[in-house]
Amino acid sequence: MTHVSLDRPAVNPRALPELVVDRIWRFFCSVRAAIAEIAILALLVLAGTLRGSSVPRTIADTLPFATPLVERWYAWDVFRSLPFASILTVLAVAIAICTINRAPGIWQAIAHPTVVTTHGFLRNAETSATFASALSAPELASQLQDALRAGRYRTIGEERSGEVHLYADRWRYSRLATFPFHLALIMILAGGIVGAAWGFRDNDFIIPEGSVRELGHGTGLTVRLDDFSEVYREDGTPLVYRSDVTIMKNGDTVNTGSMTVNNPLTFGDVVFYQSGFGQAVALKIEDSAGEVLFDDALPLGPFQSKLNPDAPAARMDLVPAGVAMSIVAPDENPANAPELDTLRLRPGDMFFMIRPLGADSPIAAPIGATVSQGESIELGDLSLTFVRERRFSVLQVARNPGIPLFIAASVLLVGGLAVTFYFPHRRIRAIVSPTPGGSEAQLAPVARRDWSAKRVFEQVAGDVGRRIGLESHLRMNEPSPIGEASYRVVAPP
């Protein structure tokens, strides 16, 4: 008589912290969650990309009620937002935890694969091969192993109930390639953090020709632009522009060189890039006592003058003299909106104007004058010399200690992908059974819904047959329709 107990086995209740840690761990290990995280990241990237396009404006024009939403969209800097940073962080953590979680299983499959299989697996395989031989089962198994080894397959055999179970695989270490690939993604993120935290970047480091500028950022470097040159094509677009610079530290020249776009100049870990250029004016300004207030070049461009909004212009405050000075150059394209040009300057001329700065300014009203290159004039109490026109160069200067991480990550990422895709882990399972006439071996690949793996197996089966001098009988099981197929990839029996 059998006694059945309906009492549930006693379960040790787990502590809440343990339960929470377990849940968090499971969340980060979940493939479904990882896919959702990638999908959310993709949507945020799409939102950020479209923000830089005319699409939101088109939506607002088509659907006026959506205008407030579109304006919020334009105002939202997606790539510097908290949700974006959060999803990147979650994804990075998920990659790390998932990798740690998968490592033992992958290593187990590589180092200690399950050898014993079932007749059911072989019977239901979508493709399989059978070899009949007069040899005994162990002898045929041995021949099969030799033939598979000749095809660069690793083979492992195990005897079970008079049958020999075989496992053969090739490129097993390619399963490890997922780790460098995912590590690379974390390293790229880490590279970005390292660069932002310990590097610097100056997008508008402007130096007029002949002038010296301090770089700052704790480098102790100063840079002098010795020469700037540009070559134009017939249609007026720039072909080459180049800056020749001298880099100094504590007054001593430590490096000289030139840079063009795509050919930066490197000094130590600081890199100088050619970014842009424009017109500058070299000036000398003295006060009535003969003290030099300014003797340098001033870039023209970022400032707009009401006297001619189209023309390159600049403004500077001469605080010791109590005035603000604005400078306007001749119009570069006089045909464009000529009605706005109230100055009508000739090439080689420059318009200077001083305005009161502060309550105790020595002048009560603006004073302006047009000056030709090389001439000096008196503007109020100031003596101004328009030395010459010059060019200024816009450099970008950066130090990014995250670059080595990025380069290493790139190699790992591409290498990991290449190994994963082009050297896939191929596996074959077999059972060699004794028969009245000798033995029979049935082989099948672990290749469900994998058309390529099945073709490779058929080729391997043919090669094995030729090597052991037996004809292989291939059998195909028509796979069921896969219209809605979805299954978990599980370890074979």
Binding site: A42, G48, T49, N262, L417, I482
Partner: protein
């Protein structure tokens, strides 16, 4: 140089004719032929009733072979066109939308023909070739001044990086076009059970193989683009719309690969992801029409 550029254009015109004809033949081959049946029945009253019927049957192999031959002609003409332009420009033609799309036509045709040979699937051409023809039509519609060979602007003057970075982008897009075609064909074959179309397993595998070429190529595009950006602009990532749209595409194909390899997704769901992913490719390809940014060189 001008005569070489003109000759290059004539070869492009010849390629267009060959590809258009090839696309038509592939369509005929894939759709099959309509067979009309007339059956005459004599009734007991002595009258004759004729029944009419029509059915679809596989097209003859000859039209398929002819389509492949024409596609090879198209690819060869386009190859000569690109070669002549390369000689004229002293570099691979990759710097504006005309050159980019012309090279895409060549690579997409070549990638398709390689897959046709690997898998022995000719019906795929009924989707890939019309895509290539659509691209050729787009090239014809581009402003004619883009057909001239111009010197590179300073930002593009890095021939090794430009060659590899842009070529990889074209290779990625070409293989994604093949994957897209396989996904569409899969959905058709699976929905209507057209017996002479390739099996769903094969199409599913073909699409996956195409992505296993395209995805690493797109990864290289992002990496080499970053390296180039670092050399030219001092930062390897600027969140430029072209960069982020390529990243978006990469992420969608990442979803496809993860769902396929880790969740075991096959069939309709995988095919649907590939359709979305190819929409992202088209968005990235033509994105410069809706956003500016640092990649606004000659429309590329």
């Amino acid at each position: 140089m001008e005569s070489l550029v003109r000759l290059s254009f004539y070869f492009f015109a010849a390629a267009t004719i060959a590809l258009v004809t090839s696309a038509a033949c592939y369509l005929v081959y894939a759709v099959g032929r309509i067979r009309l049946r007339h059956t005459a029945l004599t009734t007991s009253a002595g009258t004759t009733v004729v029944s009419h019927g029509a059915s679809l049957e596989p097209a003859s192999l000859g039209i398929g072979r002819f389509a492949t031959l024409l596609a090879w002609f198209g690819v060869a003409f386009q190859g000569i066109s690109i070669l002549l332009r390369t000689i004229a420009a002293g570099r691979l033609p990759l710097s504006n939308m005309y050159e980019f799309s012309s090279t895409f036509i060549l690579l997409a045709g070549l990638v398709y023909l390689v897959f046709e040979r690997w898998y022995g699937v000719r019906q795929l051409g009924a989707i890939v070739l019309p895509l290539i023809v659509a691209m050729a039509t787009y090239v014809w519609l581009l402003p004619s001044d883009l057909r001239e060979v111009d010197a590179l602007i300073p930002a593009l003057q890095n021939r090794p990086l430009m060659t590899i970075h842009v070529s990889m982008a074209i290779l990625a897009y070409a293989t994604f076009a093949v994957a897209f075609a396989a996904a569409v064909l899969f959905l058709i074959a699976n929905r209507w059970r057209v017996t002479w179309l390739p099996g769903p397993d094969l199409l599913d595998d073909l699409a996956f193989r195409a992505v296993t070429i395209g995805f690493p190529a797109l990864s290289l595009v992002l990496i080499l683009g970053s390296v180039w950006a670092y050399r030219a602009w001092g930062t390897y990532w600027q969140w430029d719309p072209k960069e982020t749209s390529a990243l978006f595409t990469w992420l969608i194909y990442g979803v496809y690969l993860h769902t396929r390899s880790l969740r075991g997704w096959r069939g309709n769901r995988s095919a649907a992801i590939l359709l979305v992913a190819f929409a992202a490719v088209v968005f990235t390809y033509f994105g410069n029409y809706i956003f500016g940014g640092l990649h606004a060189y000659g429309g590329v």
